[in-house]
């Protein structure tokens, strides 16, 4: 007698369904965003990447972050790692193409930083940008906020 079903695969999608919501998810004005709920902060030829507040809110408590190796190539829209919550596993997709130059080792011992500080201490990778033109494909904070509202209202 238990709740019968597979949790990992289903929960990942179900936890995106929102009935209760904190009202709004936080966004940072100068960051860029993608529809798979990652953010990117550009600094010259380098960029820092993480998942958004909206993403961590839907995932729940993060218990593990799978990080790529320094030197790995990432491609725009491609997966470079995974984030694990109590019930679900989700890919992390890169908003831009480039080469990983640094990973946030603090996440190995404190994955909950992704929940508590998704835009700062919970950053995931830093990359050297291949093609800054790709940034034109991304959403700004206003567009992303609207995208999240629309996505939530569909569920």
């Amino acid at each position: 007698m238990a709740c019968r079903q597979l949790w990992a695969s289903r929960a990942a999608s179900y936890l995106r369904i929102s009935v209760f919501h904190r009202g709004f998810s936080n966004v940072i004005k100068d960051f860029k965003y993608v529809d798979s709920h990652e953010w990117v902060k550009v600094d010259g030829n380098y960029a820092t990447i993480g998942i958004t507040d909206h993403a961590q809110d839907h995932l729940g408590d993060v218990v593990y972050v799978e990080l790529p190796e320094v030197g790995a190539a990432v491609t725009q829209g491609g997966s470079f790692g995974a984030v694990e919550s109590v019930k679900a596993t989700s890919d992390i997709n890169s908003p831009i193409s480039g080469k990983v130059v640094e990973v946030n080792e603090a996440l190995n011992s404190s994955p909950a930083l992704v929940n508590s500080s998704p835009y700062k201490d919970g950053w995931i990778i830093k990359v050297e940008i291949n093609d800054s033109g790709e940034l034109n494909n991304l959403m700004d904070s206003e567009q992303y906020s609207k995208f999240c509202e629309e996505e939530d209202s569909k569920h």
């Binding site: 079903q5 109590v86 569909k154």
Partner: protein, 407 residues
């Protein structure tokens, strides 16, 4: 009722809002429209429940509390779950015990009236059709609860055998309690809070026992049981009174007992080392392989008489080829179907369910390995997304159970 997509989903990590998932989301939406609702549905939504499709029902996976916090609070204070999607039924008639004994491995005849047990419905090959808690109300009345996801096949199975049994002159009939709702009240505060709502002395009711009694002024079927490893109760109540009872329980506990969803319930049963049908138990897995030998009564080991008895009794004699065991592991939490290897890289089994334990703050899993490699302390590798992670076989439960038993 498992779609191919879930099979796919088991081996490929899910993506947040990836294009493919948009199609999947559309299917969920279609499913949502056809989902059944328990009588507590509006109550869940009003209390911040995130409703998701589950076994054909719209059920709360969590409320405002995170799954982590809900799990911890159940063990520290208590949880109230809506499990009305599960199917309760009664078998009545002079021959209801011998009838049921053909279908389950339990020693039903040996149960004292007012007591129950976890059991398994078996198929002709000894595999598990479902697990169930059965309770003998009287010698001619059995009350049982089967799992939501197995309801249709269980009822078809029972009906088929009942027809044959009655055709031979057997006296048995059934009633499906669709007019009732089921609440699970679990955790250390379950008994003290429930005691406020009934006049009967609950301290004289032990784990596995059943009573028909008034709770909050309404006649209920009360079983001291649960699927969390905690002391607690399952309360079957006429549906029209279910919301009032839920409110009364939450009120009496002054907010310490929290509404809790299926997400935390799954964490709790995993920590307790209990099987999840569809993951840890399936049609091709016998109770012996699943470590449920204890649920086969002594008389029944001698006599058999249930479906698949020849397979099961042979496994009892010779030992099964695979065994269900627990694991601790490092790295990402294991999930269903993660491959298990020995230290030499040879496949020895598969994870059936797993995740992160909120209580232990580490990864736990249940899986099946080849007999001989099932001893606690055996080192293994668990393969997740192509990478090998250290694991070790461990005894279950992962978190000690706290069933209320005579001392």
């Amino acid at each position: 009722m498992r779609w191919g997509l879930w099979k796919l989903g088991q081996s490929i990590p899910r993506r947040l809002a990836h294009g493919n998932n948009k199609a999947v989301a559309c299917r969920y939406f279609a499913s949502d429209a056809e989902l059944k609702k328990t009588v507590l549905y509006d109550f869940h939504v009003a209390n911040g429940g995130k409703m998701v499709p589950f076994a054909g029902w719209s059920m709360p996976i969590q409320y405002k509390d995170s799954i982590m916090d809900s799990t911890l609070n159940c063990r520290e204070n208590g949880s109230l779950f809506d499990v009305s999607h599960m199917c309760g039924l009664s078998l009545k008639g002079k021959d209801s015990v011998p009838f049921l004994e053909k279908l389950v491995i339990a020693d039903v005849a040996g149960l004292a009236p007012g007591t129950g047990s976890l059991t398994v419905f078996t198929n002709e090959k000894g595999g598990a059709i479902d697990d169930s808690v059965i309770t003998k109300v009287k010698d001619d009345h059995i009350y049982l609860v089967v799992n939501a996801g197995c309801r249709d096949k269980d009822l078809a199975h029972i009906e088929e055998h009942m027809k044959a049994f009655k055709a031979k002159g057997g006296d048995v009939s059934w009633h499906i309690h669709d007019e009732r709702s089921l609440l699970a009240l679990q955790g250390p505060l379950a008994a003290p809070v429930l005691q406020h709502l009934t006049k009967e002395d609950l301290s004289k009711m032990y784990f596995g026992e059943f009573r028909v009694l008034d709770i909050n002024g309404v006649q209920c079927f009360l079983t001291r049981t649960g699927y969390t490893g905690e002391d607690g109760f399952e309360i079957s109540i006429p549906s029209e009174s279910a919301v009032d009872l839920a409110k009364a329980i939450l009120e009496k506990s002054e907010g310490k007992i929290r509404l809790t969803g299926l997400g935390a319930r799954d964490s709790l049963r995993l920590e307790a080392g209990l099987c999840l049908y569809g993951n840890d138990l399936e049609q091709h897995i016998t109770p012996i392989e699943a470590g449920l030998t204890w649920a086969i009564g002594k008389r029944r080991r001698a006599e058999g008489g249930f479906l698949g008895a020849d397979v099961i009794l042979k496994q009892l004699e010779e030992g099964p080829k695979i065994r269900r065991v627990g694991f601790f592991s490092s790295g990402p939490p294991p999930r269903s179907h993660s491959e298990i290897q020995d230290e030499g890289g040879n496949n020895i089994g598969e994870v059936s369910s797993g995740g992160f334990s909120p209580c232990l703050k580490k990864n736990i899993a249940i899986g099946y390995v080849k007999s001989g490699l099932h001893k606690a302390g055996t080192k293994v590798k668990i393969i997740i997304r192509g990478k090998s992670n250290e694991g070790v076989v461990t005894k279950m439960p992962f978190v000690p159970t706290k069933y209320y038993k005579p001392s």
